[in-house]
């Protein structure tokens, strides 16, 4: 390490910006970066406010329309169902799309290469995205959960049912976050990006319809055992299909972030000091395989010349 000619190391930070840079060192750098950007952006604040207003408006509308004195139990279930729908709406569309934008930005802004050159591992990059999405979703949950609690206070819905519905919502939120992130990682070109956005919206609609139906059914069913009897098989069935799709997307997305180049020949040629072909080996395989001689001749018809510049000085 060679020193920089610094005249006052550390001074600037001590004076002005220590607070900004004092996120804990143990935090994922991607998460810190996105928190800073999120706090400066307006999109998140606007969505949050819209969600809050929707909850207030829904509450107001339901209170006005329902006869709370006659059917308190029915009103509680109805309120709870609506709030779950409101909760799942941003978590199936807004959060995944923002995750998509985050991952896709690394391609479109050509920042992925400089990011890969750092000591960040690919897992850290994705976990940073994921925690950022989790924070995003967490704040939406914080906006809606008080309203769900309010519906619980109206009675008619068991706490276990509400918790189970919340678990379903969380699972689908996490699923859609992962889908958004991985589809964003796949979108390395404009055409692919458009296609991935469409896929994400379709998946979001699919996940939203399943999760909101399940959540509404769970909060509307009086017995928790009855809930388990229909909700668990539904979760397993839909989950197995959705997870398979996610694994497929993940494989492709991680491959894109690994900068895997499909054009590169899947072998590497070892040359000796004089540039003569020493050995052909399969690069990505686990077992070293000597390749066919005809392939060698195709790429290296003759032993490569010594060096391109000049012969070695005597």
């Amino acid at each position: 390490m060679t020193p920089f000619p610094a005249d006052s190391a550390g001074e600037w930070f001590n004076l002005r910006s220590r607070a900004w840079t004092d996120f804990p060192d143990s935090w994922n750098p991607m998460l810190i970066r996105e928190i800073r950007r999120m706090l400066k952006g307006r999109a998140f604040a606007i969505t949050f406010l819209l969600l809050l207003l929707s909850c207030w408006a829904t509450s107001f509308f339901l209170v006005m329309s329902a006869d709370l004195a006659l059917d308190l139990i029915g009103a509680g279930r109805q309120f709870c169902s609506y709030f779950f729908v409101l909760l799942l709406l941003p978590n199936c569309f807004v959060v995944p799309l923002s995750m998509f934008a985050l991952a896709a930005e690394e391609h479109s802004e050509q920042t992925l290469e400089v990011l890969t050159l750092s000591t960040l591992r690919i897992g850290q990059i994705f976990s940073g995205f994921f925690w950022c999405g989790a924070l995003h979703a967490g704040i939406y949950y914080a906006a809606v959960v008080p309203f769900i609690c309010f519906s619980y206070l109206l009675r008619g819905v068991a706490l276990s049912n509400i918790l189970f519905a919340l678990v379903i919502a969380l699972l689908f939120t996490a699923y859609m976050m992962a889908c958004g992130m991985m589809l964003g990682a796949c979108s390395s070109g404009p055409i692919r990006k458009t296609f991935c956005v469409l896929v994400l919206v379709v998946m979001g609609a699919f996940a939203f319809s399943i999760s909101s139906t399940m959540a509404a059914a769970v909060v509307s069913t009086p017995s928790f055992l009855e809930v388990l009897s229909f909700a668990l098989p539904s979760l397993v069935c839909s989950g197995s299909i959705l997870v398979t799709i996610l694994l497929f997307i993940t494989g492709f997305g991680v491959g894109q972030f690994r900068l895997f180049d499909p054009l590169i020949a899947p072998y590497h040629v070892r040359l000796d000091e004089k540039g003569q072909v020493k050995r052909f080996s399969v690069r990505y395989g686990r077992i070293s395989v000597e390749l066919d001689e005809s392939l060698r001749k195709e790429y290296f018809p003759d032993p490569p010349p010594g060096t391109a510049t000049s012969p070695t000085p005597s």
Binding site: M1, T2, P3, F4, P5, A6, S8, A9, W12, F13, S17, W20, T21, D25, P29, I32, R33, R36, R37, K40, G41, E106, S108, E109, Q110, T111, E113, V114, L115, T116, L117, S118, T119, L259, L263, I264, A265, H268, V269, R270, L271, K274, G275, V277, K278, R283, G285, R286, I287, S288, Y299, P304, G306, T307, A308, T309, S310, P311, T312, P313
Partner: protein
């Protein structure tokens, strides 16, 4: 990017992991003979480099028999060169010559089909992680995250390189001081000028204090002042911080002023490699082989008449006007050259300048390359 497979690990054991294992067989510089004339200066340079090897100094960047094929296209075809600590090396070539591909391989962003590159003795094939720790890469167009300030951008990369606490703050501060971005530390990146953005890119490249810097077209799109300032920064990096800099650019006059050496690449192959002076002499020798040394003469008036007059003189050929001067090739000796000037004055030409035309890197580039497009 490239997790070493057991196969690769096995291969690592079989071949020298580092270029520094051998020092005797480095391809050195242009030592080829042109029309039987031994390049005395080139030999002097080669001797100097051999002396460095003998003194035990290892190249910090060495490319050895590098190949990169895209199907049938040989983007990089058997490229070899090396450079030492404290040197700025220019990497020159027309568009599509293989410069960026070579640089991306050195930066571990791509894998060679064959051959290897060594950064601080670490192979880009076998030890990409070690290479990344001692290498800074500034691509021709690097992204800048929106909604971030200068200091936040640097802080992010300092964290990404694993700096913690005061070490991180000091690293950022040193970079801000060096790139003179301290006053702009709070500014959003999107408000920076192109020149300042390039400084920020250089700062990001320097955040982990790498020994080797790969700069791909850093001066592209900069105004003259920003170019001069960037040139000074690069010069400082090499001279005061002893860093190795490999820089590609189309602005050859810039390269000629900051580089110690240069390699010219075309159609994936290195055409020549040596010091800037050596490349210029390479051009001069080629010129002399075709008939004479280049001379330039300037007169206050009657330049057209002088052109016609020169064409009638012995040993003179290839007479052409060039920027207020007349350039021509002269095949005579020094006595004949003096006689020519004497005759010019006797014929009433008001000569204000009469000198050997100085060769530029651009001349050398045009002379050496053939404009081959793959």
């Amino acid at each position: 990017m490239t997790d070493a497979t057991p196969d690769q690990e096995k291969m690592t054991d079989e071949v020298p992991a580092s270029a520094s294992d051998s020092t005797a067989d480095y391809p050195v510089v242009v030592t080829e003979e042109i029309n039987g004339q031994a390049p005395a200066e080139g030999e002097q340079l080669a001797a100097e480099e051999i002396a460095r090897d003998r003194a035990g100094e290892k190249p910090t960047l060495e490319i050895r028999n590098l190949h990169r094929f895209f199907g049938k296209l040989k983007a990089v075809n058997n490229v070899s060169f090396h450079t030492y600590a404290g040197q700025v090396m220019g990497f020159i070539g027309p568009n599509g010559a293989g410069k960026t591909t070579t640089m991306r391989i050195i930066a571990t962003l791509d894998l060679p089909t064959a051959g290897d590159a060594f950064v601080c003795g670490h192979s880009v094939v076998d030890d990409p992680e070690k290479v990344r720790r001692c290498l800074g890469f500034m691509p021709d167009s690097f992204g800048k995250y929106s909604n971030m300030d200068v200091v936040e951008y640097l802080d992010f990369f300092a964290r990404a390189y694993g700096f913690k606490g005061d070490e991180r703050r000091d690293a950022i501060d040193r970079v801000l001081v060096f790139t003179e971005l301290r006053k702009l530390a709070d500014k959003p990146i999107r408000t920076l000028s192109k020149g300042m953005s390039q400084r920020l890119g250089l700062g990001r490249t320097l955040i982990h204090d790498p020994q080797v810097l790969i700069l791909d077209e850093p001066a592209a799109g900069l105004d003259p002042r920003a170019r001069v300032e960037l040139r000074e920064l690069i010069h400082l990096l090499a001279t005061e911080m002893n860093k190795t800099v490999l820089i590609s650019s189309h602005i050859l006059t810039e390269l000629g002023e900051i580089c110690d050496s240069a390699a010219i690449i075309e159609a994936g192959q290195i055409l020549t490699h040596g010091t800037i002076e050596d490349l210029k002499r390479h051009r001069s020798r080629k010129t002399s082989a075709s008939g004479g040394i280049p001379l330039a003469v300037a007169v206050t008036s009657r330049s057209t008449e002088l052109r016609n007059w020169l064409l009638e003189q012995p040993f003179v050929s290839h007479v052409a006007p060039a920027a207020h001067r007349i350039v021509f090739e002269f095949a005579g000796d020094n006595t004949e050259r003096a006689n020519l000037l004497k005759r010019m004055i006797e014929n009433g030409f008001a000569v204000t300048e009469y000198a050997g035309k100085s060769e530029t890197l651009e001349d050398a580039f045009m002379s050496i390359t053939e404009g081959i497009v793959q």
